[in-house]
């Protein structure tokens, strides 16, 4: 399946290579560089590139290309999904997945990659198992290791791989037993010029952080499970129980994991928590344009909208912008033509606005399209779909765990056309 992996940074240097079968020369990456040149932007590099003898499948994350070399037919998503899993694992291990971090921990990276694939076929991809095999580096451990000369390779052989719950490590012990669940919903929407919704959907996830001793068996039930139109589960969730009773029943992995992601369909009306009033105009003859946007709360269920951030890709003809915000800070990058305005909290009494003028390139005609406005925001303590967790029960262990549920709504791909 996967022959080799090359990690390439933004400036086109191969800074790590790993081979699971015979060595493939790194010159194979020249085909990738060619494609990269053609694509102009990193985002547009095709994920699948055929070369005379190999196929290059790549993912682009954290400004690093992860290029897998394949020799024969394989489902492309198999490789892509695996590469994403590699990135997630690195992030899990080192906190951030960056070139510097990978170079600093090259040995751990190598050991992890060695365990993840055998002969190109995924072997251990569950972070619980990997962490048992190779302990993630922490500052404390690094210090201890340098002094005592001990290692970050687990001296205990992992048993998780052999058990019937391969995602959970064995012998977990905590003094404080806690289970936290974050219900995070993202609104994807396109709002048209006049402010009406063209399409809106809610994507939700339940991320969990479970630190419980032993082998707890949890059940989580919702007040209104019918809301969930389409769901995908962590392998630990018992599908049959969900089918018959709409209850999540599972033995959780230890630590952080994504329990569930769901989709609330476009058929249900989606509450749009913010609105944007905009007045952007270019005039044909003059080299000045007017720019004015105001952001305000709409259906927020009485909660405050925070972390508001407005970004917009201005047309090429715009040379500069002179703007004054009523609150927050704004930046216009004259090279990339990207305007971003960090608004912060919305105060319904005093709506934030950004007003001013744009300098246009003299002589060029006015752009045909007004820029679209991308919005980011956060609302704490609210799941916009109305989803509510009913209760969380634990079986199989005797102690009483501390339980916590948090709700949050965020903007996903929230776009306003102007």
């Amino acid at each position: 399946m996967i022959h080799s992996l090359f990690l390439i940074n933004a400036s086109g240097d191969i800074f790590l290579e790993k081979h699971w079968k015979s060595v493939v020369s790194r010159s194979v990456c020249d085909y990738f560089f060619e494609a990269q040149e053609r694509a102009s932007e990193a985002e547009n590099v095709p994920p699948v590139i055929p070369t005379p003898h190999h196929y290059l499948l790549s993912v682009y994350r954290h400004k690093i290309f992860f290029v897998a070399v394949i020799q024969s037919e394989v489902p492309p998503l198999f490789v892509i999904e695996f590469l994403h899993r590699v990135v997630d694992t690195f992030q899990d291990y080192f906190g951030v997945c960056s070139e510097v971090m990978i170079k600093d921990n090259v040995v751990v990276v190598y050991e992890v990659l060695e365990e993840m694939l055998d002969n190109g076929f995924p072997l251990a991809t569950e972070s619980n198992i990997l962490k048992e095999l190779i302990k993630p580096p922490t500052i404390l451990r690094t210090v201890v290791n340098t002094i005592t000369g001990s290692t970050n390779v687990g001296d205990q052989l992992p048993t998780g791989q052999l058990s019937v719950v391969p995602w959970r490590r064995t012998g977990v012990k905590y003094t404080n037993n806690e289970a936290y669940f974050d219900v995070i919903e993202e609104i994807d929407a396109i709002i048209d010029k006049s402010g009406s919704t063209i399409t809106a959907e809610i994507q939700g996830v339940i991320d969990a952080c479970v630190k419980l001793t032993g082998m707890p068996d949890l059940t989580l039930s919702f007040m209104n499970p019918r809301l969930l139109d389409d769901v995908s589960f962590h392998p630990c969730v018992r599908f049959k129980r969900w089918e018959s009773e709409r209850i999540l029943s599972f033995i959780p992995p230890d630590g952080n994991f994504r329990l569930l992601s769901y989709h609330v369909s476009a058929q249900n009306l989606v509450a749009i928590p913010v609105y944007v009033k905009h007045n952007i105009s270019f005039r044909d003859s003059s080299s000045l344009g007017r720019f004015e946007i105001t952001v305000g709360p709409k259906q927020t269920m009485g909660k405050t909208v925070e972390g508001v951030m407005v970004t917009s890709q201005m047309p090429k003809g715009v040379l500069n912008m002179t703007l004054t915000p009523s609150q927050g800070t704004h930046i216009f990058d004259p090279v990339t033509k990207l305007l971003s305005w960090d608004v912060g909290k919305i105060n319904p009494q005093k709506l934030p606005s950004l007003k001013g003028s744009m300098t246009l390139q003299a002589g060029t005609s006015k752009p045909d399209e007004n820029p679209t406005i991308n919005l980011q925001f956060k609302i704490q303590q609210l799941a916009i779909s109305g989803l509510k967790v009913n209760r969380l029960d634990m079986y199989g262990e005797k102690y009483k765990p501390f339980k916590g549920i948090k709700y949050m709504t965020k903007a996903g791909k929230f776009q306003v056309r102007t």
Partner: protein, 875 residues
């Protein structure tokens, strides 16, 4: 690579490698460290070496020093040495042999993980000399007690095969053995080995097919992908197409109950001609469906392609929702999924129509995603949604991403040809775009308008005139060429303008692009033929220019045209037909999706993504006309009787507490229900008629301990004559208390029964101690229907909804008959009404048999027929 210096610009252990000048010195240094007696020095050296390997630097000189440490006690050193070995053993084969004995010893270690990792490294070092040792190790490991070691053996098979393909036959034997393995750990890996080594040996799968289907849910996600792809191929060779008839008769059709008897009989007669799905085919579809909920995009895609290639058309649409969900994933996942949706949406629009809005383009999408979404939107366009779509397209045309805007114009063109109602609207819209400021947009519009006009040139003189005017400003060659072609083709509609256009272009001929020059020549030729009075000289001028052009192509064309249209003594018979040749009616171009031809590749494969055969692509065969013998999938009789006797007399089946996949096991039970219940019936009849005491009970779950808050209940049909009344079927219920308190007063309440059905409750259980279980019997009159009886199981302070559904075999009672009659017939009566039922099996020539069921109860009859048929055909 020139990055060496920049890589280590941060202080790190590898600092000393910065300059290559003293690398020899460093390697000597490393050698010393490796030979030192301290583990910490060795470890440090190994870490540096691994750093070198990761950078792609050559560290092979250190091989002798490294290989000595293979037996190190320190586990990290050992692991790093393994990493080094796997990388360099191929290059240093002789030295690598030094390490072999260490692995051979480890293969016998009592710890399964050590055995597994030894096998892993041993098989990874790619030294041909050790092939026999590897073969032996694999054979031994394949019968290891630990499934983890067996999994590694499956991986090793592929490695050995790529090292030495001559071992194929021996390896196939190992694969055959491992395919029989019942462990979920092994299944994925061995199927992977199968796909790599002997994908054509489909016969190895037969006996394991049902097991693989049933294990699938519990296999790890990567294995699932491989198994699903393999089973898709398998199913296409073994089952008949479910697509022949749109009407598919399901095993259990609820409607049957409400249909009049005549209709039913008619249907029964039809059943013989109408397609019925092989139960194994159904099993595969049923067991893969829950995997659509996987978090792994590859698994979801694999199931989607399985449904696309195997499911009846009406069922395939259940995958759409999950595929649309994947669109919220990363860019790369979106790209692949959109490609597959594009192919699907061409053939079956209906699948994705409800999700139209999910494909709306956002300005932040990368261009490749935008164009794919646009492609799908175009495929989904129909009379109903076209107006919304066109409004959406209007926004896209104005996009700052001009490449995308151009693609949108193409899309509008396709919508216009496909949906005749909007052709004029689209055309008008495109004409408006001709005054757009952006040249790319105008050029694209011209090209599309050209194609549209060709499909219906009748009354578009005005547009052609308008486009002729554009020629003065537009510079994009394709667009200019298109306009010239249009004017030439329809020169008779614009008789005044055409010669003038030729005049203008003749002037600029030398500065034009080759593409445009060819069209100028064409225009000249056509005008010469239709309007030679005005254009004779102009054309000759153009032809002269063409004659001395730099391009071969243009000189060639000029010569050809001159010979053809200018009559002279040398020109042959062809020039007579010049007009016919140049002004022939040309077929309008078909505006087609680029994804049209992709459907011959299996969806979800690399070949589909690339639209060309990738190495190692395995063709999906066409459905066979006649299904191959389905009995090949039956597991050996000897084995199954063993299983039978195993269950014999077991009335209570305790769930093992360690089994976390209890759900899936239930599913397994259910899936075998259909066939097993009819087999039960068979044995039941045996029991009463021949007094043969093979007796098999099947326990079903009534209430799971998790949902029952610790109270678990199972039931089975005891097959005793009803003790509660003649019409009752007796059911034995085993209630178990899994909590640590006692449960009091267990009884039945709130029966919700279909009309006519009656339940005789068991006597309330007063008290059930912890970990104790008790079996009670109750009677249910099912009224000869397979509808389920629902009621509540109550305790002192709680109640749970449960239901019992009888397999049809449980609704029948035996009738005594003579031994002679029995040889070819079964006879029975239904429990409730005592209607007689006669099952006749008539043996005919060439080992075919006719199965006839005579009864008044047509519903039961047809259900029984459907169940008996596969069972008998297996026997």
């Amino acid at each position: 690579m020139s990055s060496e210096a920049s890589i280590y610009n941060r202080p790190s252990v590898l600092d000393c490698f910065r300059s290559s000048g003293n690398s020899w010195f460093q390697k000597r240094n490393l050698k010393q460290m490796l030979e030192s007696s301290k583990d910490s020095a060795k470890l440090d050296a190994m870490k540096r070496i691994v750093g070198m390997i990761a950078k792609g630097k050559n560290a092979s000189e250190l091989f002798p020093a490294v290989v000595k440490n293979v037996a190190s006690k320190n586990i990290e050193i050992k692991k790093l040495v393994y990493v080094y070995l796997m990388r360099y053993a191929e290059e240093q084969q002789d030295l690598a042999l030094l390490s072999i004995s260490t692995f051979q010893r480890a293969l016998k270690d009592p710890n399964q993980l050590i055995r597994a990792s030894a096998l892993r490294v041993l098989s990874s070092i790619r030294v041909p000399i050790i092939v026999p040792i590897m073969m032996l190790a694999i054979k031994e490991a394949s019968s290891d007690l630990s499934p983890y070691v067996r999994k590694n053996a499956a991986h090793a098979i592929q490695k050995l095969y790529s090292l030495d393909p001559e071992q194929k036959e021996m390896l196939i034997e190992v694969i055959e053995k491992l395919l029989k393995d019942r462990s979920t750990l092994v299944a994925g890996s061995v199927v992977m080995a199968f796909e790599e080594v002997c994908p054509d040996r489909i016969d190895l799968i037969h006996k394991n097919y049902r097991k693989l289907c049933n294990l699938l849910v519990d296999v790890e996600e990567w294995g699932q992908v491989v198994i699903i792809h393999m089973l898709t191929r398998y199913a296409r060779t073994q089952f008949v197409s479910p697509w022949k008839d749109d009407e598919v008769v399901e095993e259990y059709s609820e409607n049957n109950f409400y249909e009049s008897d005549e209709e039913q009989k008619e249907k029964d007669r039809k059943v013989k001609n109408i397609y019925t799905m092989d139960p194994d085919h159904r099993l595969l579809l049923r067991n893969t469906k829950p995997l659509l909920q996987s978090r792994n995009a590859a698994v979801v895609m694999a199931v989607a392609q399985l449904y696309w290639h195997l499911a009846p058309k009406s069922e395939a649409s259940i995958v759409s929702k999950s595929l649309v969900r994947l669109l919220h994933s990363n860019r790369e996942v979106q790209y692949i999924v959109l490609q597959n949706i594009a192919t699907m949406s061409i053939q079956r629009k209906g699948m994705f129509e409800p999700y139209l809005k999910s494909f709306y383009v956002r300005s932040t999408d990368p261009t490749m995603i935008k164009t794919l979404k646009l492609e799908i939107l175009t495929n989904l366009a129909n009379e109903a949604n076209i107006s919304t779509l066109l409004r959406e397209f209007q926004t896209y045309v104005k996009s700052q991403d001009k490449q995308f805007a151009a693609a949108t114009i193409q899309a509008i063109g396709r919508c216009a040809t496909n949906i005749t109602e909007v052709t004029d609207t689209c055309l008008n819209g495109l004409v408006c775009l001709l005054s757009n400021r952006d040249e790319i947009v105008v050029a694209e519009s011209v090209v599309v308008i050209k194609k549209l006009l060709q499909t219906q040139p009748a009354h578009h003189g005005e547009i052609i005139k308008h486009m002729a005017k554009l020629l003065d400003n537009i510079t994009v060659p394709v667009a200019r060429a298109s306009i010239l072609w249009l004017i030439g083709e329809y020169c008779e509609r614009v008789p005044k303008i055409a010669p003038d256009v030729l005049r203008k272009t003749a002037k600029s001929f030398t500065t034009e692009d080759d593409l445009v020059k060819l069209q100028i020549l064409n225009l000249g030729a056509k005008l010469y033929l239709t309007n030679s009075k005005q254009t004779k000289l102009l054309t000759q001028y153009v032809l002269n220019l063409g004659k001395y052009d730099q391009s071969y192509d243009i000189r060639d064309r000029t010569r050809f045209i001159r010979q053809l249209i200018v009559p002279n003594e040398k020109s042959g018979a062809l020039s007579k037909y010049a007009k016919k040749i140049f002004l022939a009616q040309k077929p309008a171009p078909l505006l087609e999706s680029p994804f049209k031809d992709r459907d011959h590749f299996q969806l979800g494969t690399l070949s589909h993504t690339l639209n060309s055969r990738a190495t190692g692509y395995l063709e999906l065969s066409n459905w066979p006309e006649v299904a191959p013998d389905p009995s090949v999938r039956n597991v050996d009789v000897a084995e199954s009787t063993k299983e039978w006797t195993g269950i014999l007399g077991m009335t209570k089946k305790e769930k093992p507490t360690e089994k976390f996949y209890s759900e899936s096991e239930e599913e397994e039970d259910e899936s075998t229900n259909t066939s097993s219940s009819s087999r039960c019936l068979e044995s039941n009849l045996h029991l009463h008629c021949l007094e043969n005491c093979i007796f098999r009970t099947k326990t079903h779950e009534l209430l799971h301990r998790m949902s029952g808050k610790g109270l678990a209940a199972h039931y089975h049909f005891s097959r005793q004559p009803g003790i509660f009344g003649d019409h009752m079927v007796s059911v034995q219920v085993t209630v178990t208390n899994t909590t640590d308190q006692k449960i009091e007063n267990i009884h039945i309440k709130e029966k919700k029964l279909p009309p006519g059905m009656r339940v005789h409750e068991f006597n309330p259980i007063e008290c059930l101690e912890p970990a104790e279980s008790i079996t009670v019997s109750m009677g249910i009159d099912f009224c000869d229907s397979t509808q389920m009886a629902s009621f509540q199981l109550c305790t002192k302070d709680d109640h749970f909804n449960v239901n019992i559904q009888p397999p049809v075999g449980e609704l029948l009672l035996p009738v005594t008959m003579s031994e002679k009659d029995f040889k070819k017939e079964f006879a029975a009566k239904t429990v409730h009404s005592g209607s007689l039922m006669l099952v006749t099996v008539e043996l005919k020539e060439s080992s075919t048999a006719q199965l006839v069921i005579n009864t008044e109860k047509t519903v039961i009859g047809s259900v029984l027929l459907r169940e008996l048929k596969p069972v008998l055909s297996q026997g």
